[in-house]
Amino acid sequence: MSDSMPPLDRRVLASLRSDRPAPSDARSRVRGRLAAVIPAMALSGASAGAGSSGFWRRFGGWGPHGMAVATFIAGGVTGATLLATLSHAPPPRIVYVDRPAPQAVVSEASTFSGPPLELAGPTRIPVAVPAAPQPTAAVATALSAPASPAATPPHASRFAEERRLLDDARAELLQGEPALAIARLDAHRARFADGMLAEERDAMEVEALVRAGRVDEARAEAAAFKERSPRSLFLQTVEATIASAP
C-alpha cells in the first residue's frame, strides 16, 4: 500500500495544516444562535469555559431532576433577558383596526395548525379559529401590516419568535431529525411555557417523540395533553399520532 501512496510535499502539508482562528464576532453570533435553542449554551455562555462545566456538572449530579431545574433556570434567564430587551424597546405604535383581529390570525393559524402534524401535504383544517388561542388585536395588526423593526410591538416579536422556533422544529421533523426538533421544542417550552403556540408545540412534541422511537414518552405526553387541553383543535391529531405509533 505504501509503495503506491505518494507522500505530500512538506510545504504543501504546512499550508494545509495552517489553522486560522475563526473570527471572534462569528463565534459570538453562532454561540448566541445556539443559546436561543439550547438552554445549556445560554448558561455556559455566561461563564464560558471551565467554570460553566463545573456549574452544569453540579446539576448533572442531581440526576434528571437536576437537568430539569437547570433547564427551568435557563428559561428564566432567557426570559429575563428577553424582558429586559423588550422593556428598553420603544413604546409600541398604536394602530386602530376597523375589523376584528381574527381574520389576520386565521391565515397565520391555518398555515401551521390543524392536523399540522400530517407533515406532508397542505393543511386540511377548516377555519376553526374560535377554539384556537386568540392573539390580541395588536398581534393581528402587526402580522397584517409589517412595520419598521423599531415600531414592532413586543407581542408581535414574541409571537414571531414562537413561530420561528416551531417552524424550525417542523422543518427538522421533515428532515428526519426528531431529536433536533425535540431540543427546539424544549427550548420553546423554556422560553414560552404558556405561549400562544403552546398547544401546537405540545402536539408537535408527541409527533417528534414517536418519530424518535420514544413511544412511551409520547403516550405520556399525549395523555397529559388530553387532560390539559380536552377541547384542543390538536387533540385529534395527537390521538391519531399515538394510534399510528408502533
Partner: protein
Amino acid sequence: MGVSPSPSPPRVPEIGAVFDEHFDYVWNTLRRLGVRESDIEDLSHEVFLKVHARLDQFDATRPMRPWLFGFAYRVAADHRRLARHRFEVLGAPVEAVDPMVAPDERLEADEERALVEAALEELDLDRRAVLVLHDVDEVPIPAIAHELGIPVNTAYSRLRLARHELAAALKRQRKNRYARESASAWPKPGTGHGPGTRRGAL
C-alpha cells in the same frame, strides 16, 4: 479487604464546553472541505446543533475531533449537493496578521496557502475528507473509516487518489500562476513600451 472502586468512565462533555474548545476546529474543517467563507458561520451553527442532538451518543473514550469531523463532513456534503453551491470556489480569507512574521515571508506563505487551497478545491469531497482527516488532523486510517462509515481499504484508496490528484492540481495551479505572472509582467499594447507596442511601425 475493601474492593477498590473501578475507574469511572469518561464523562461526555457539555455542549458549551465542546463549542468553546472545538469551534475553531469545526470552522477550519468546513473551510478545508470547501465551504465558502461566507457560508461557514451558518454551517458551523448547523454542525453544533447536530452535535448537541447526538452528544449523548459520543463515546468519551475516543477522541472528539474525528467525531466532530463526521458532522462537518456531512453538513458540508449536504451543502454542496445544492446546485448553487457546487461550483463555488473558496473566497479570499480574512485573517489576523502575525506581527512576528516578516511581510515578505507572510506574502509567500499566503500565496502558497492560496495555491494549496485552490488545488484542494479541485478534489472530490469524499477524497478530500480522507486527506484532510489523515494528513491535517493526523487521524489513523482505521479511525477515519469508522467515522466516515466506509471500509478501511476504501479509505486508503481515497487517500492515495487524493494525494495524486492534489499533486496534479498543484502542478496545474503553479503553472497557471506562472502564466498569469508572466502575462502581467508583459507590457500591454498601446502603453508605449515593450514588444507588444507598434511604436515606430509606420
